[in-house]
Amino acid sequence: MTRIWKHRLFWPSAALLVLITINSIARPRFLTITMRDGDLYGALIDILRNSAPLMLVALGMTLVIATRGIDLSVGAVMAVSGAVALTVIDGSPDPGNLGTVLVAIGFAVLVALVLGAWNGFLVAALGIQPIIATLVLMLAGRGVALLITGGFITTVNSAPFSYIASGYLLVLPFAVFVSAAAIALIAVVERRTALGVLTEAVGINPEASRLAGVRSRSIVWGAYIVSGTLAGVAGIIYASNIRAADANSAGWLIELYAILAVVLGGTSLAGGKFSIAGTVLGVLIIQTLEATILFLGVPSAQSPVFFAIVVIAVVMVQSPWVRGGLSKLTRSRRPQAVAEPERTKVAA
């Protein structure tokens, strides 16, 4: 029995279960799923669909964090991706044409991939601290998105494009399939190939990995490319949802939500071992919490307060001081030691 307790997915699963339970007590119809015209509807379905952009971004963030890095530019990349896609569609003679939409999406995701590669270049090749390197794109990216849309919120009326966020495939929303596909793809690549283990090695002990011949540079670079690409797809889903490219709101604050999801899922911010399943749980927790807050009638603009409290609580509990205090109950006497001098200075 104790082994379940110690499993690292225990706490996130428990937290999610608690949230769902609270919701279903407060809102009896929470767990209800209805079928209409062959499609499933319900609060749970909404959560799954609405979590798609965050899911994609958080998956990419998990890989970047595993390499001891961070990607603060994902929101901005989402904005750029949406802007590119919508500009292509808007500028084409037939916005409703499936081919046009596919080209637009392809192009937008390609641009996002390039932006991810740019981040990877700064971090892996130039050795710039990830926080600072991605801060630049965080700053400039929205400007680029605004330029692309000419300063306006470009709207389109395109059935194939809107399908992405609101359409259904079989019985579930299409966006859920996108999420699931991303999760499956990443999980397979990370665990079926050696990429997962090598990434963890790079994050846990970069020097030992280097001496063992691991291609650390490529692995780190790759993580940022994946993060950028996933952010690009997330931007498409977001734009499809509002049928517009809003450079200012797209992905606003999504960085912190993604980091929070990763941390809730059990991956350490210090890098190393990571858990895709944990991140998935973390995203669902956040999305359920958001739905709860909205249901309670809190205006969505005010919801950041709740998340701030959650973040603060989580980091406080994970802090060495609290951990030390808890272990003091069972600690054997040992000579105290001054903290190791910091090798690298983290500017954030």
Binding site: I70, L126, G127, I128, Q129, I131, I132, A133, L135, V136, L137, M138, L139, A140, G141, R142, G143, V144, A145, L146, L147, G150, G151, A247, N248, W252, L253, E255, L256, I259, L269, P299, A301, Q302, S303, P304, V305, F306, F307, A308, I309, V311, I312, V315, M316, S319, P320, W321, V322, A339, P341, E342, K345, V346, A347, A348
Partner: protein
């Protein structure tokens, strides 16, 4: 110490050095700030030459300070934090929060004499929270301040979902009163901002606290071993940044005549860019508030140039981002070179 030795040792340390070498060894840290001054001058001259012949006028330059007073105050507070090697991503949201808070208070009849201190206290409280998280709970500054950003932004909307006009003459006076000296003019907001710069400079260079800030940025472990009150100082710099956020909220409210919860989205990045362009290293330990002043002026000049050119404001973010990147890459190259030389 007794003077039992016979002569001062002649050693590599006092190989006859040229005046240039002595100057560089004393003031080498000012090079990035000096570069910022050069950039500012180039911008002004360039605009004058290629844009409009009447760019450099008393009017334009006065407006430069007037329009960016709030950013200047933010940048000064941020300088303290960045000097210790930390970062504060919450300043824009704190500015919005305190701005709307103040507007709400005076709209409800609270006297200005209480509303303004309340704004400053609110900003400082957020700063204190961040500082405690960083120092006591060992949270990385960007996560702690990102949580502060969330908190302040959410609280701003809690105070009010819509903007609130401010009509109190005392507040509006700060912005509308113009003190003229010939062609030049300055407002109380501008004077306030410059006073903050001056005060910060005095603190950083002439007080134990200020020197501790630099020491922490240079080598926190050493500062601790040298007996400096590192813990207290690290928390204080975030309180200062929060306080400046509150002050900036006041300035911005006076400037726009209203509190608006959507204010300052992205302003923290502008402030960070201004600080970095002004020569403060993000790794901490080096930089000057005067440099941040220059950085804000560079920022404001670029904004003015863009508006004069009739180009879209979105260019602003791109250019600032590009400049920031340039400075960071150069900073990194300099650091890498000095490490290799050892």
């Amino acid at each position: 110490m007794s003077a039992t030795m016979t002569q001062a040792r002649s050693m590599p340390a006092d190989r006859p050095t040229s005046r240039v070498q002595t100057f560089m060894s004393r003031h080498g840290a000012m090079t990035p700030t000096f570069a910022a001054v050069v950039i500012l001058v180039l911008l002004l001259v360039g605009a004058e030459a290629f844009l409009r012949g009447d760019f450099i006028t008393a009017r334009t330059l006065s407006a430069l300070l007037l329009d960016n007073a709030y950013l200047l105050v933010l940048a000064v507070g941020l300088t303290f934090v960045i000097l210790t090697g930390g970062i504060d991503l919450s300043v824009g949201s704190v500015m919005a929060f305190t701005g709307i808070l103040g507007a709400q208070l005076v709209a409800s009849g609270v006297p200005v004499g209480i509303a303004i201190p309340a704004m400053l206290a609110g900003g400082s409280a957020v700063g204190l929270l961040i500082g405690v998280l960083v120092q006591r709970f060992d949270v990385q500054p960007f996560i702690a301040s990102l949580a502060g950003l969330f908190l302040a932004r959410g609280l701003a909307f809690v105070v009010s979902l819509a903007s609130i006009r401010v009509e109190q003459p005392e507040i509006l006076w700060l912005q509308q009163n113009r003190i003229r000296l010939g062609e030049w003019y300055v407002t109380p907001t501008g004077i306030l901002a410059l006073a903050v710069v001056a005060g910060a400079a005095v603190v950083l260079h002439l007080t134990q606290f200020g020197r501790t800030v630099y020491a922490i940025g240079g080598n926190e472990q050493s500062a601790r071993l040298m007996g400096l009150s590192v813990a207290r100082t690290k928390v204080s710099v975030y309180v200062i940044s929060g306080f400046c956020g509150g002050l900036a909220g006041l300035l911005l409210t006076a400037y726009s005549g209203a509190g608006y919860p959507r204010n300052g989205i992205g302003t923290e990045l502008d402030a960070i860019a201004a600080v970095v362009i002004g020569g403060t290293l993000l790794t901490g330990g080096r930089g000057y508030v005067l440099g941040s002043l220059i950085g804000v002026l560079v920022f404001g000049t670029i904004k003015t140039i863009i508006s004069f050119m009739g180009a879209e404001q979105s260019w602003m973010q791109i250019i600032v981002g590009a400049l920031l990147l340039l400075f960071i890459v150069v900073q990194r190259a300099i650091v890498a070179r000095s490490v290799r030389r050892r």
